[in-house]
Amino acid sequence: MDLGIEVDEARQPFVVVAVRGEVDIATAPKLREKLVELASQGAQNVVIDLEGVEFLDSTGLGVLIGGMKRLRGLDGDLTLVCTQPRILKVFEITGLNRAFTIHETVDAAVAG
């Protein structure tokens, strides 16, 4: 199963990355590569839109943690957009809902 990744750079200074599909051990490397690429191109504030994600496990969480650390190290941040209870539950049971800023919409995320 392929992972859909769409990058929107029209919301500067934010880069919005919309993810679709299932994020697991097979597909998470593609997301990791994209985040590394964006950071290397100078992106500092990245919003990951998870509304199109149907499944996310700890491999996906690991990629998001890695991305957040990388961007915070560049004085930026990685924030999330998610309202799906199934996906939010993964953050809640790992306590990572306290580590990430999670917005309900992309508009709210780019408003800071």
Partner: protein, 177 residues
């Protein structure tokens, strides 16, 4: 799994990442068809299975393509038992406790190691048996067979007061607690 469980299915997958999605699909379909489970419990089981399969595949580390990860689903009247068995080198469960708690800010220094806490949170019982010849993760959900599974010969739905049965079980009309 010891005890008098009946086999529902057994699935062998190569220890490769792209097969985890297949395992999720097969096990979630079996769980939905065999048990009276709310959708969120099926999703919990699917996530726990994904974590166990991910650990199994990482244990194999792509070294031997001929090796297999075996996933079994067994059941009895009150339980659905999902077992994931790998042939990797095994691990020391005690070492995992060296990670900071998830509430500790230092936890962000560990991008791995979240899988087992997730499994523990999502299923009713879990056991890990690990040795030189591999690791077996046994996950148990407490649940009853689906009505359809009992068959029309055993149940006459016209004579059952379903609303009262839902009330007795503490469930609403859609079967949610």
């Amino acid at each position: 799994m010891p005890g008098s469980t009946d086999a529902v299915l057994s699935l062998e997958i190569p220890p490769r990442a792209e097969f985890v999605a297949v395992a999720r699909l097969v096990v979630s379909t079996a769980a939905k068809s065999r048990r009276s489970l709310a959708d969120d419990k099926v999703a919990d089981l699917t996530l726990a299975l994904s974590e166990a399969c991910t650990n199994a595949i990482e244990a194999h580390d792509g070294k031997d393509e001929a090796e297999r990860v075996t996933i079994r689903v067994d059941e009895d009247d009150e339980r659905l038992v999902v077992t994931v068995e790998d042939q990797g080198p095994g691990f020391d469960l005690l070492e995992l406790s060296a990670h900071p708690a998830v509430t500790d800010p230092d936890r962000l220094n560990f991008e791995r190691g979240l899988g087992i806490p997730i499994i523990r949170n999502l299923v009713d019982e879990v056991t890990f048996a690990s040795g030189d010849s591999g690791t077996t993760v046994t996950m148990v959900l407490h649940c009853t067979p689906s009505l359809g599974d009992l068959g029309p010969d055993l149940l006459d739905l016209d004579e059952i007061d379903l609303e009262a049965a839902w009330d007795d079980a503490g469930l609403d009309e859609e079967g949610s607690r």
